[in-house]
Subunit: 329 residues, 2 copies
């Protein structure tokens, strides 16, 4: 990235997570530079939370020494939030901000244009602009990690729905009698196929001694309660039967869920990001194959199922992507 | 409707069903006139199927004696079909048309502009333009009858997805271990809450003698296999416990399903049409109440759940509505 590329436009993407704030410059090609990261205490005061954001921004802006008039700041944060007003509502993962006018605070402090959206929406937009969704009109993106977030981009715009709360695809239930999700619903895909869910399934199976001698127990130093989702991928690679079974089941759950998504949205592309997606990457063809069983759409196998372009920096790219959008009407 | 309203624009809506073709004039206010209806044999030849359509059109056009240059014809038909090319693909309910270029045939025969879409999409558009969806940007419509069709209108346009096969919401599964749907998937809302599904549930319960003495058996002249969905509504009104239980279960299934729809699409309004919706109309408040349990969207109770404006003429209105749309790009 040359300095001249930023001569007229300087965009900072900010990723507010449950325990950290990360930020960096992002150019119009979606390339990131000078990423910085500070811890954040999500349970402090609202001002302390904002101070963490301000500290990364101050750092970047001091480095840059740019005229603020050419700067925009795009923030992605955990929902619920209102992307239209720029207010963070009451995110369970960042309880310090309740009805916090983040965009207004940023604009006041820095005299810049700021934008806000939730993680998955913003990451979907970044993928659509610069990543695995380039060239497609209708993009479905999901981040399968600790939880499951989704974002939908139609014709270059994030699909927000009535109040900005659309695209909560992680809480589409495929099993109304199934396990209770954090959200209170039963059988949400998040309760079946997130990192948290598959670790829970593994712990339960090991505790029930379903597959005695699973490598998972060894990986967790003999303590079933310490099994984490990453270990399932490792154990599966070592041909551990239990770990493989858990991944097979996860493939099936995702195929059922994506079948619903395709039957409702018929996107041009489905982009899978997040740690669990990374772990399942060798099984993408299998998900696509099972999708045929779980979709009335006879053309579903023609919809590409692809890994996300952005990894752990998807939040920074996503935040920045918000600034490359035309104003919403 | 005055004749002057049609002086420059004359739109005919055509509704092709499994056993009939119905059509009528529809003005720019969505008002219908001179509806006609002829039987159609869906299992004849393609030409015979087309002749049924032509017979209603000939009848209307002869009455009208209008200059064809001012006429447009909009047809709604059972899917799958391609709304962009105007070709009927391979609808199970109209097997006589396989890859049949209906729009091209109509344009050739009548020298007019013709449009085509599936029943639920077209009806959703009519509701959006002239019915219960007027004034809302994002409209979700469902017709709950023998099957369950859905249509989505965003900003005045039917949402088609990649190839025109989006909005098959009737095949969103909420119970992957549930009953097998006609489509082959398990637990589709169509397999749980359509007229066909609730009649099946009633027959099974009566056959299993779950509620001995149910009025349903009397309504079906003592023959459980003759129970139809309409009888369930009648029996429920007579305080029949089995019929009421079936409707309660149906309310719950619909709340689970609409919860998924809202979490994914967050529409501005949800419109329920079709015979089963009509039967459930006194229970709409209960569906809306249960929706809160099945939706992460805290604002879901603010989304109106309303009956469709168009009843059995929704197909004619829907077909016509296609002609009041600007050309798609």
């Amino acid at each position: 990235m040359t300095d001249s590329a930023h001569q007229n436009r300087c965009v900072i993407g900010v990723d507010v997570g449950g325990t950290k704030v990360a930020a960096g410059f992002v150019n119009e090609l979606g390339e990131m530079s000078r990423p910085v990261r500070v811890p954040m205490n999500p349970r402090g005061t609202a001002a302390e939370g904002f101070a963490a954001v301000a500290s990364v921004l101050d750092k970047l802006l001091n480095e840059k020494r740019a005229d603020n008039s050419s700067i925009s700041i795009g923030v992605c944060a955990p929902g619920p939030l209102d992307p239209r007003t720029g207010v963070v509502l009451n995110p369970p993962n960042v309880p310090c901000w309740r009805d916090f006018p983040l965009v207004a605070e940023l604009e006041r402090r820095y005299g810049v244009v700021a934008r806000l959206d939730n993680d998955a929406n913003a990451a979907a937009l970044a993928e659509s602009l610069w990543g695995a969704g380039r060239g497609y009109s209708n993009v479905f993106y999901t981040c399968i990690g600790t939880g499951i977030g989704t974002g939908v981009v139609f014709d270059g715009r994030i699909f927000h729905g009535r109040t900005g709360s659309a695209a909560e695809g992680g809480h589409v239930s495929i099993d109304y009698r199934g396990p209770v999700c954090n959200c209170g619903k039963r059988g949400c895909i998040e309760a079946l196929a997130s990192g948290t869910a598959i670790a829970r399934r593994a712990r339960e199976a090991v505790a029930a001694d379903e597959k005695a001698g699973s490598r998972l127990l060894a990986l967790a130093d003999g303590d079933a309660s310490s099994i984490r989702s990453e270990m399932i991928g490792s154990a599966a690679q070592m041909n551990d039967a239990l770990a493989q079974q858990i991944l097979e089941d996860t493939v099936e759950f995702l195929a059922i869920w994506l079948g619903n998504i395709v039957d409702l949205l018929e996107p041009d592309v489905m982009i899978l990001g997040g740690g669990v997606s990374e772990m399942l990457r060798p099984r993408f063809p299998q998900i696509q194959d099972r999708l045929k069983t779980w979709c009335v759409n006879a053309q579903c196998c023609k919809i590409p199922l692809v890994p996300a372009h952005y990894g752990e920096n998807s939040g920074i790219a996503g935040g920045a992507a918000l600034c490359f959008l035309p104003d919403e009407t």
